[in-house]
């Protein structure tokens, strides 16, 4: 039973063995390390690049233009920001050349918080990525999806960004559906076959299991939990969090949540969102990128456009705070991105909020208990008082 990172590695092996992948490269991607998360151990076409993200993306574009099939890695998405205009070129080359050149490249990058990665190993990239037209963008939440989406990426004639939630790299399948067709069930056996040994690995070769060439198509969501009270539309690491929250709410409070894992952010499965929200009349969009110009905000807008008259409450977004970084300390990280506790609260409130037209106000239920985290610093240190104001029914605190 594979972890997500083993699933990525097995997919890359299938890519170079069966899909014509010519180059898997980036910083520390080749031997001896095989990737800082071990995603590229034992691969024949893996090689180390200079520490130069613009060079990596540029080289991948050029390799693709020359008819190769590259898979490039940016070690952490936090370091992809200086590549934005090259990402834009990868996305616009087919359009700008009016169909003369396509760019069949895959770009993998670990994203998101959850491993105490502090300011430069915790950022999300889905809001940035979905603002670059011409790319297909996926974000798996389990080993099966990571494997199948990556196979699709390596078969695409267009640039594909595979955003890998770094906190899930060691996560395993939670259900038989999340297992990779053909992989050994025994995790220890798989580890012995495909994980590089500690120490000298110069003579080591992996013994790849014969996993099936079964792709997961882009633009197809999956329903992780079925429910009737509220739809939670999410992806990546928070899909797992939403599943746990849905189970807890069902067991302890009788709230029935439907969890939709988009898997693909572009193209995305609008039909699945429509069907779920039509059923429940309530929707919470959930992701961990910063909340201003967040991809979930686009989905809120489109939901309003399409379903305004059918909604029982205003669509909601639970996302990362609009802060310059994700802090290292537990309390800071928890204050920056959605947690299980904050997700439980957001889902509960979305399920229980008074329906539009049946209440004086369509506002969240005010949570009486002390919030799990405090967005403010100690006022004594700053010498400024904290002012509390009611804004749209929410109690906001700021320094006055």
């Amino acid at each position: 039973m594979a972890t997500v990172v083993q699933a990525v590695r097995m997919a890359l092996h299938v890519g170079e063995a069966k899909l014509g992948v010519t180059d898997i490269f980036g910083e520390d991607v080749g031997p001896p390390l095989g990737g800082v998360f071990t995603a590229s151990q034992g691969l024949k076409t893996a090689w180390n690049s200079p520490l130069d993200e613009r060079g990596i993306v540029g080289a991948a574009i050029g390799l693709a233009l020359a008819g190769q099939r590259p898979v490039a890695e940016i070690q952490f998405c936090d370091y992809a920001y200086n590549t934005i205009d090259l990402l834009k070129i990868a996305g616009n080359t087919y359009w700008a050349s009016a169909g003369d050149w396509n760019v069949p490249m895959t770009l993998m990058t670990p994203v998101g918080a959850g491993i105490h990665g502090s300011i430069y190993h915790s950022h999300s990239f889905d809001a940035q990525a979905t603002r670059i037209p011409g790319w297909k963008i996926v974000m798996p939440s389990n080993p099966r999806d990571a494997y199948g989406l990556l196979l699709s990426a390596m078969s695409e004639p267009n640039p594909v960004m595979v955003l890998l939630p770094k906190a899930l790299m060691r996560a395993r399948a939670e259900t038989p559906d999340e297992m990779i067709p053909g992989e050994p069930e025994d995790a220890r056996e798989l580890r012995q076959r495909i994980d590089a040994p500690i120490g000298d690995r110069s003579g080591w070769e992996p013994d790849w299991p014969d996993t099936a060439l079964e792709r997961i198509p882009f633009g197809k969501a999956t329903i992780l939990r079925e429910g009737n009270d509220v739809s939670v539309v999410t992806y990546g690491r928070l899909a797992r969090v939403a599943m746990k929250a849905a189970d807890q709410l069902r067991e302890s409070e009788g709230i029935s949540c439907e969890v939709v894992d988009l898997r693909s952010l572009h193209p995305y499965d609008w039909d699945a969102i429509l069907a779920s929200v039509r059923k429940t009349g309530r929707v919470l969009f959930l992701n961990e990128d910063t909340e201003i110009t967040n991809f979930g905000e686009h989905l809120v807008r489109r939901t309003c456009d399409a379903l305004f008259g059918e909604l029982r409450i205003a669509p909601r977004l639970h996302a990362g705070a609009h802060l310059p970084g994700v802090g290292l300390a537990d309390a800071l990280e928890d204050a920056s991105v959605p947690t299980l506790e904050s997700t439980l609260a957001a889902m509960r409130e979305a399920a229980r909020a008074p329906e539009v037209g049946r209440s004086k106000r369509d506002v969240p239920v005010v949570v009486k208990k002390k919030p799990a985290f405090d967005f403010t610093l100690d006022p004594r240190e700053l010498g400024t008082p904290i002012v509390t104001r009611e804004v749209f029914g929410r109690s906001l605190r700021y320094r006055g």
Binding site: G55, G58, A64, L65, S97, A98
Partner: protein, 348 residues
């Protein structure tokens, strides 16, 4: 406004070549002249089109015709890794013409018609794309081609053969990190790339003189730190350009190692239509210089050159009129070519 008093190279006047370059045969020189003349007439027509409102913006390469025409004639033209890849910039019209591209296609791009074969009315003039000849899409950022060229160089290193990757940009763009990227990646020990890295140095970045921003005496010298062969040449001189490009290309084809070539050129109509696009008489005009040589050698007289120009201008006028009658893209065309449904570049 340009201040010509600051127009000096960082190390004084551009090198003019240590020795007189070998003479080219008469027919070759006459062919180069004809192409340069068409390139100049084309650029002048494009400038007029912009001024007449028949195009939104002009940018191009008058002043680079000598070097760029020679480059186009020396390219191993074709599609795929066996042939030369060209990662050019928006001053490369003479290279395209020398490779065989018709002038009317540049007029089409200027007038953003649906018949523009390079971008179907989507991009500025001079933003060429021709997969049939390995001309990768030119984009407006002045540095990105240096990073992208690494990839075709990698593919050609693996493939072998004698095809090479040619990347070209101006002096101002070398301040960007992508130029450094191309130097680093092309010279990885044991993994050197068959890349000809060209800088056409006109000593200007829009209104900013290179001498006020660049402390290096020669941009080509940056290649030396990476163990690369380097050279400079007088890009206003056809025979000097021919010699420099021939030698550099032969070196890269045979050794499969990179080469940095810096060519000193002129910028005869300023940066673009945004800076007026008026003729700058203080700079060396490579076409005038060539015509002097041809007359001196008795190969083409001033009168013959004038008659040739009038003939090309008449033909250009006909192409221009034709382009004005061609359709523009329709609104719905904007939604074409967002995603490919097949791997075109992977097809043999």
């Amino acid at each position: 406004m340009r201040d010509m008093s600051t127009h000096t190279s960082p190390s004084g006047p551009p090198p003019r070549g240590i020795a007189e370059p070998p003479r080219l045969p008469r027919e070759q020189m006459l062919r180069v002249h004809e192409l340069m003349l068409e390139g100049r007439v084309l650029e002048e027509r494009l400038i007029r089109m912009q001024r007449q409102g028949e195009g939104y913006f002009w940018i191009g390469g008058p002043g680079e015709e000598a070097f760029n025409t020679v480059l186009g004639l020396l390219v191993k033209k074709g599609r795929g890794v066996d042939y030369d890849y060209l990662h050019l910039h928006y001053r490369s019209s003479a290279t395209l013409l020398a490779m065989g591209a018709p002038s009317i296609d540049a007029l089409r791009q200027m007038h953003n018609t649906a018949t523009d074969p390079y971008s179907r009315g989507r991009n500025f003039v001079g933003h060429f794309s021709k997969r049939e000849w390995n001309v990768t899409p030119v984009s407006s950022p002045i540095e990105v081609q240096y990073a992208i060229a690494i990839g075709t160089g990698l593919a050609q290193r693996r493939h072998g053969g004698d095809g090479l990757t040619i990347v070209q940009g101006g002096d101002a763009g070398t301040a960007e990190g992508d130029f450094a990227s191309s130097l680093v990646w092309a010279s990885r020990p044991g993994s050197e790339l068959p890349m000809l890295i060209i800088v056409t140095n006109n000593q200007w970045g829009i209104s900013t003189a290179a001498s006020t921003q660049h402390g290096e005496k020669l941009i080509a010298d940056r290649g030396k730190a990476f163990g690369m062969r380097t050279a400079t040449c007088d890009g206003n001189d056809v025979e000097a350009s021919w010699q420099a490009l021939s030698e550099a290309m032969a070196y890269v084809r045979q050794t499969r190692k990179p080469f940095v070539l810096e060519a000193f050129v002129s910028r005869l109509y300023g940066h673009s239509s945004s800076s007026g696009s008026n003729y700058v008489s203080e700079e060396i005009d490579c076409l005038v210089e060539l015509e002097k040589v041809l007359e001196r050698r008795g190969w083409r007289s001033a009168g013959e050159c004038k008659a040739m120009r009038e003939d090309i201008e008449a033909r250009m006028q006909g192409w221009y009129k034709q382009v004005l009658s061609e359709p523009h893209p329709k609104p719905e065309d904007a939604f074409d070519f967002v995603f490919a449904d097949r791997n075109i570049v992977g097809e043999s």
